[in-house]
Amino acid sequence: MDTTLCVEQSQTAEAADIVAMPKERTLTYTEAIREATDMEMARDPNVIVFGLDVDDPKAIQGTTKGLLDKYGSERVFGTPLSEDAMTGVAIGAALAGLRPIHVHIRMDFLMLSMNQLVNVGAKSSYMFGGAVHVPLVVRSMIGKSWGQGAQHSQGLYSYFMHVPGMKVVCPTTPYDAKGCLIEAVRDDNPVMFVEHRILHFQKGPVPAASYTVAPGKARITAEGDDITLVGISYMQLECLRAQRYLADVGINAEVIDPIWLAPLDIDTIAASVRKTGKLCVVDNGWTTCGASAEIVAQVLERLQGTRDIRVMRMGFANTACPTSPTLEAEFYPDARRVASAAYDMVHGRKKNWMPEERVDLRQIEFKGPF
């Protein structure tokens, strides 16, 4: 786990509102994705789904279950193991007006798709002066724990945030998973849709109707005045748990889920930091040149000189992900470490406080085999 602390200056607050979460049906994250895909395929015959194993018996954790039967093998198909070419195929199909959803069971494998995504997908609209566009959704999953190791655990979304012409979204709740996927499918540009294998097990309220969760609005998931915690992807859960640990000792953390990383709603985050003066961004990736670095930099650019600000980034340890449980536990930030770091920030110095583990806040362990 890597932490980077620096202190800066800043200005005053601007309230950001909490988006009301409709409480009706409960779905899992995977069911929400399946439903969003199904609804978009029903609505628009140009939506197609492909990728390795989307039509196999396990149906990508159930996220593509039943789609083959309902829409047929022309619109739902497994592919050869050819990520580079299939990404190019997806872009070609998108240029012709289809709206492909290309699925990858690990984000790590996307490294084979990089050329097509970065040099063609993200560039086409601009490079051709708006003459063409690429309405493509790339779904990719981040693995964690149970010995996934160096090549099955990477959260590489900041690579795509770096590239103009790509949108990036990391929904953390079933509600947002559905709304963001529908939004992504309807977007006329390439969208990297990032899932996390542990988030797949999350349950939450999901309206039956169609709706979108568009870029431009981060979500305040817990309100507080003492410190701002921004949790990206799976780390949103750890931040919410950290918020509970901090509440136990009288610290009110405001927790923000950015949802869309590109484009990023920096307004909501900056408004919160204007109020709290302290920002800790907890990322599900490395801190160097990562999403956390970007968020911190943008907040400081905005608020510097207006008030005192303390900032910190937390993320993966600056190494590849090890498999041994003892090392892996050290590799990831977790709720207690986030709480401990936040506690220090609030007190302005190292206090060596670490909350006792609360059983009700223990993280859900993903059990193999994956």
């Binding site: 018996p57 084979l112 010995g147 190494t319």
Partner: protein
């Protein structure tokens, strides 16, 4: 010869059966891709290689690692995530390595090591070393662009590299016919200009004979790259210790032919009973000891987390450090 083949086959089978047996206890916190049913390929190939020859493999490489002479304790301890594992608990089952035995390291990203083996062979040629470099990969890996690209370069530079395609008919739950428009991998290798052959029926001795003469020709400098498509069959699920016929993507009747043609049993029948019993007793003791070693070994200290990110001279093995100091 049959004794040695049987020992290697039986040893791999028993290690993996133990892995499968212990798996539900959750002690092996590592995804395991078992080779049960496919051992014959690794044994046939590795028995034709010398200790200094080098192999690259995939996440499904327990068989290759053991057949090539990789340390059994290091492999089992690795699956337990222990400090004594072959990567000190950093790589797990999918990233085995034992450079002393010529096991160069295995990758979990399909197809990647094909090109790495070609590069290694290039270095061997440049350094005038009579080392044969082998790469094991699945039928699925041949769909990645790196496969034809690597074949082309190997032919262009006439490199002593052995391409071993373990065709078990599936990539995860998807059959070869559903993924390849022209499902004849050997023909594709031939079209790239690689001398290629396909060995049916998981036939250990037949494959060994063919690989042996290929390797000899490479050592003699009379052969460039060679490709072998080895038809084989995975008995267990893609990853994990169980059978998976319940999923419906393949049937027990399809598996029957392969299970009846089990090479562990076939080769066992060629070994005199007394010898066979002695081999089995020896292997059982070794396997038992390896699991005991793994259980008894400590987990890595957290200080190990940040070592090896970059290679540093102080990270070299003690013997290397001593040699450098001398």
């Amino acid at each position: 010869m049959h004794e040695q083949f049987y020992k290697s086959l039986f040893r791999i089978r028993r290690v993996e059966e133990e892995i499968a047996r212990i798996y539900p206890t959750d002690k092996l916190k590592s995804p395991v891709h078992l080779s049960i049913g496919q051992e014959a390929v690794s044994v046939a190939v590795c028995e034709a290689l010398r200790p200094e020859d080098v192999c690259f493999g995939t996440y499904r490489s327990h068989a290759m690692y053991l057949a090539k002479g990789g340390d059994i304790n290091g492999m089992v301890a690795e699956m337990y995530g222990k400090q004594t594992g072959c990567t000190k608990g950093k790589g797990g089952s999918m990233h085995l390595v034992d450079t002393k035995a010529g096991v160069m390291g295995t990758s979990a990203v399909v197809g990647t090591t094909i090109a790495n083996a070609v590069g290694y062979a290039y270095a061997m040629k440049l350094q005038r070393k009579k080392v044969v470099t082998t790469v094991f990969f699945g039928d699925g890996a041949t769909e990645e662009g790196v496969f034809p690209e690597s074949l082309n370069f190997a032919v262009l530079k006439n490199l002593p590299v052995l391409f071993i395609c373990e065709n078990n008919g599936y990539a995860i739950h998807t059959s070869q016919a559903k993924r390849q428009g022209h499902p004849h991998i050997t023909e594709r290798a031939k079209a790239a200009g690689v001398q290629s052959s396909c060995v049916e029926d998981n036939d250990c001795l037949e494959l060994h004979g063919q690989v042996k003469s290929a390797v000899e020709a490479m050592r003699a400098g009379t052969s460039g790259p060679r490709f072998f498509e080895c038809k084989t069959y995975r008995w267990k699920e893609h990853v994990g210790p169980n059978e998976d016929f319940g999923l419906g993507y393949r049937t027990p009747s399809e598996a029957k032919r392969w299970i009846e043609n089990d090479q562990v049993t076939k080769i066992a029948a060629l070994v005199p009973e007394a010898t066979r019993k002695a081999i089995e007793a020896e292997v059982e003791a070794e396997v038992k000891a390896a699991f005991e070693f793994a259980e008894a070994s400590p987990f890595p200290d957290v200080s190990e987390l940040m070592t090896d990110v970059f290679h540093t001279p102080c990270a070299a093995t003690p013997s290397e450090a001593v040699r450098k100091a001398a």
